[in-house]
């Protein structure tokens, strides 16, 4: 006898429908699963068999073949367990086959028959809605997450028995969608930072214009602390963004059963991370840190210690806002649109002033490690020094709430000025968009003429100046805005030194 159940397989950051067909016929007792499954899918045989028996049902002593269709799609993980078990029960006459049309199933089974949460529930729920499934059964822990897919009936179950009861027509209580679990206001506050006005100003500019930021300075001056407080001055995620972030984190298993992500993600991978860890991929395709930082902040501490291949791998996400990974003849695109914040020592020894014994060659080597794909795209470079003692012990002078207010207003001005010329916009458009005053233009021209700026640098300085003007509530970009942007630009200083 044949039964068919509906479940979902992850494909990149999306989920696609998978139909689980189970056929039970006479023959030597066996349980076979076909359809390009990984080890977790192969091991489902043992889990499903034990769960069925331990829930008080019969596991038919016959030849059982389960097919996961479409057969070409690689299937990973344990989310197929529930559908396999229910289809087996239906195929062996313990459940009406028609019952399986009403509900799609997504969940892992324990040997006792308990339904367990598994990664990617939100992605599965969105696929269920897209495929017009009538309802979705998931583990109780992940039900609120699944209920975020609006218009989908979601039933929570704790055990296989409960699932069977649901399929037999028991009433399913409605599940309330998950609430945001975090908000920018709950993030660490800038009030903890003392005496770093310059760095805070740079953070505000970065937050207002989505500019990448590099902080450098001796160890222990608060670079990491400052970066950690960037999400607190960024606007909260919109609902669409929050769903996207929740889905990505859910698939990576970073956010099991949690609710909607509210504050922007902040990821700070260790510098020993591999390129695959940073942008995703690997034998089991998994989003990397760059995708986990999507719509948020990717913080690279000790930037010069990251391996060259890792930093090179960031080139595509920095340009396109996504990562394309080709593996096993399939390409997967992970969204990876993040704000890059990095911190580094000013020189290899990390000391400053007279104590530094680094030679020019050491320095050049350190600089070379930093340069290339990442340093090119740093709009803001700011020094974070040791604050004076009286500042360190003073009462907090800056609060995230005030800065966030300024950032939000500036971002509104920015979005009102659409279209925003990003990337390859030509200089003329950019000038029209930024509206620099005559004196501002001539300062920019002077910097360019001195050989201190590249063509890209010229445009980027203008972009930063526009953001500073927005923070200043100025309709036009004035001279002081361009000057500030120039002082924050790293390669503006290069022309002077390169000749030596």
């Amino acid at each position: 006898m044949l039964a068919r159940a509906r479940t979902f397989a992850l494909d990149g950051l999306e989920s696609t429908g998978v139909s689980v067909e189970v056929n039970v016929r006479s023959g030597l007792p066996a349980f076979l699963i076909v359809g390009l499954g990984d080890t977790a899918v192969r091991e489902a045989r043992e889990r499903v068999r034990a769960a069925i028996v331990n829930s008080g049902f019969d596991f038919p002593p016959r030849r059982i073949v389960a097919n996961l269709a479409p057969a070409h799609l690689r299937k990973e993980g344990a989310g197929f367990d529930l559908a396999l078990a229910c289809a087996t029960l239906a195929a062996s006459g313990q459940l009406a086959t028609a019952a399986l049309d009403r509900w799609a199933l997504f969940g892992e089974l324990s040997l006792t028959g308990e339904v367990r949460a598994c990664p990617g529930t939100l992605a599965a729920a969105e696929a269920a809605r897209r495929l017009r499934c009538r309802g979705l059964v998931v583990a109780r822990a992940t039900a609120p997450e699944a209920a975020l897919a609006e218009g989908l009936r979601v039933a929570a179950a704790t055990s296989l028995r409960e699932v069977v009861a649901l399929l037999r027509g028991a009433p399913a209580p409605a599940t309330a969608p998950a609430q945001p679990t975090s908000s920018p206001a709950e993030e660490p506050d800038l009030a903890d930072v003392r005496g770093q006005e310059m760095a805070v100003q740079a953070l505000a500019i970065a937050a207002a214009g989505d500019h990448n930021l590099l902080m450098y300075g001796p160890p222990g001056t608060g670079k990491t602390m400052l970066a950690r407080r960037l999400p607190s001055i960024l606007p909260p995620l919109s609902r669409a963004e929050a769903l996207e972030v929740t889905r990505i984190h859910g698939i990576a298993g970073e956010h099991p059963g949690g609710g909607l992500v509210g504050a922007r993600p902040f990821r700070s991978p260790h510098h020993t991370i591999s390129a695959v860890g940073l942008v995703g991929g690997g034998a089991r395709r998994r989003p990397g840190e760059a995708s986990l930082a999507h719509r948020g902040v990717l913080f690279l501490d000790e930037l010069s210690e990251f391996s060259r291949p890792s930093l090179e791998a960031l080139r595509q996400p920095l340009e396109d806002g996504r990562v394309t990974i080709v593996r096993g003849q399939r390409a997967v695109a992970y969204p990876a649109s993040f704000m890059l914040v990095a911190a580094t020592n000013p020189c290899p020894c990390g000391l400053e002033d007279e104590m530094c014994r680094c030679t020019e060659a050491d320095f050049a080597r350190h600089r070379r490690r930093l340069s290339g794909p990442v340093l090119d795209r740093m709009d803001l470079v700011v020094h974070v020094g040791r604050p004076k003692l009286e500042r360190l012990q003073a009462a907090p002078s800056i609060h995230s709430a005030e800065v966030r207010e300024r950032v939000l207003t500036a971002r509104e001005r920015r979005s009102a000025r659409r279209p925003d010329p990003v990337g390859a916009a030509c200089g003329g458009d950019r000038l029209k968009w930024a509206q620099p005053e005559a004196r501002a233009r001539s300062a920019l021209a002077a910097a360019y003429e001195r050989g201190a700026l590249s063509a890209r640098g010229h445009d980027r300085v203008l972009g930063v100046a526009r953001t500073i003007a927005d923070l200043d509530a100025s309709p036009a970009v004035r001279l002081e805005h361009v000057l500030q942007a120039l002082a924050l630009r790293q390669d503006a200083a290069f022309g002077a030194q390169r000749a030596a």
């Binding site: 680094c358 974070v384 361009v482 030194q497």
Partner: protein, 357 residues
């Protein structure tokens, strides 16, 4: 003395030294021993090294030079620098990237060597550059070794003004050493010339660096050391300068800085204290002998910019330090950028600011 071609004996001598390089490296440890060895005749040297004295074929030697684009000048020619004539064991042949006349022009007026450490601080580089520029503007030829750090900064500074600057290399003069200074090498060769006593194509060996430092001191009327830790090669140049009776100057640094310990010791032992190009000129031309042509007097900077510049000159090197002195962050950034555009301050690779000297 003749014009014409370099003589065979000198070319032979030059070839012999190149062939005996491994021996000179070994036996010539200690600068005095090296000079003693270089004072010996070809045959005596070859005998000590256990080799046959063989000067090679002078004709082939000249051909090699021509192909490498070098001019050979032997000590019997008029073009040979007069300053080297009094030198014990002076190089028999100088190889020069320009026709001999150009070297003569460059060495016709007063000359000054500026040397220092390779691991220089930003301030040291700025000082060397300002000295080079000032001397060059006053018509003094700047001589140095084109090494990383101070040497290169001095050459670069000299190239910013119209004067001559001569680089003395330890290896063959047809090739930039260190190679990162290829651009600088080309600019020096175009403006003035690069010289060496090594044969065309010869890789620099240790004894050549010692001999090169002596040549720098020999070609200069006075020597200035900018930043040198206690065991710097620049201090060797200073020692040669003293032995050759050339006036010696040193730019002092903070007493706590290891990389200034060598120069501070020089000042303590009687070297002239050098603060700027004016002081340096005094060393070579006497008081009031020549003046650094000063460009138009810098305009008095208005309020905030003046305060910022004063703070930078006092040593508040980073924007965050300036903020701590009570100026708002946006004003600090805008002010520093304006000062930089006006050329009043300079931003270093590490993002700190220095007053432009």
């Amino acid at each position: 003395m003749t014009g014409g071609q370099p003589c065979s004996a000198c070319l032979g001598r030059s070839r012999t030294l190149a062939r005996l390089s491994p021996y000179l490296d070994r036996a010539g440890r200690g600068a005095d021993r090296l000079v003693a060895l270089l004072g010996l005749s070809d045959s005596r040297l070859a005998q000590l090294a256990g080799r046959e004295a063989d000067g090679g074929d002078p004709g082939a030697e000249l051909g090699r030079c021509r192909r490498a684009g070098l001019t050979a000048i032997c000590r019997h020619q008029d073009l040979y620098p007069a300053r080297l004539r009094g030198l014990d064991a002076a190089p028999a042949v100088l190889y020069c990237t320009a026709p001999g006349g150009r070297l003569g022009d460059a060495l016709a007026g007063p000359t000054m060597a500026i040397v220092g450490t390779r691991s220089a601080s930003a301030l040291g580089l700025e000082t060397a550059r300002a000295l080079g520029r000032g001397l060059s503007a006053a018509g003094v030829t700047v001589i140095s070794g084109m090494a990383l750090g101070i040497d290169a900064a001095a050459h670069a500074g000299a190239l910013e003004a119209p004067g001559h600057t001569v680089a003395v290399l330890a290896g063959g003069a047809e090739r930039a050493h260190p190679v990162v200074h290829l651009g600088l090498y080309r600019r020096i060769a175009e403006r003035s010339c690069v010289v060496s006593e090594a044969l065309a194509g010869e890789a620099p060996r240790r004894w050549r660096f010692v001999a090169r430092n002596r040549l720098i001191a020999g070609l200069a009327d006075a020597v200035i050391v900018v930043e040198a830790p206690p065991r710097s090669g620049a201090l060797l140049t200073a020692r040669w300068a003293r032995e050759l009776g050339r006036p010696l100057g040193a730019v002092p640094g903070p007493v706590s800085a290891p990389r200034a310990a060598g120069v501070n010791a020089l000042v303590r032992s009687g070297a002239e204290l050098i603060r700027d190009a004016e002081d340096a000129l005094e060393l070579v031309c006497g008081i009031g002998g020549r003046r650094v042509p000063s460009p138009e007097a810098p305009a008095e900077l208005p309020g905030l910019l003046g305060r910022l510049l004063a703070a930078v000159a006092e040593g508040a090197a980073t924007p965050s330090e300036l903020v701590e002195s009570g100026i708002a962050p946006d004003e600090v950034l805008a002010g520093l950028a304006e000062l930089e555009l006006r050329g009043a301050v300079r931003r270093t690779l590490s993002g700190t600011y220095l007053p432009a000297l």
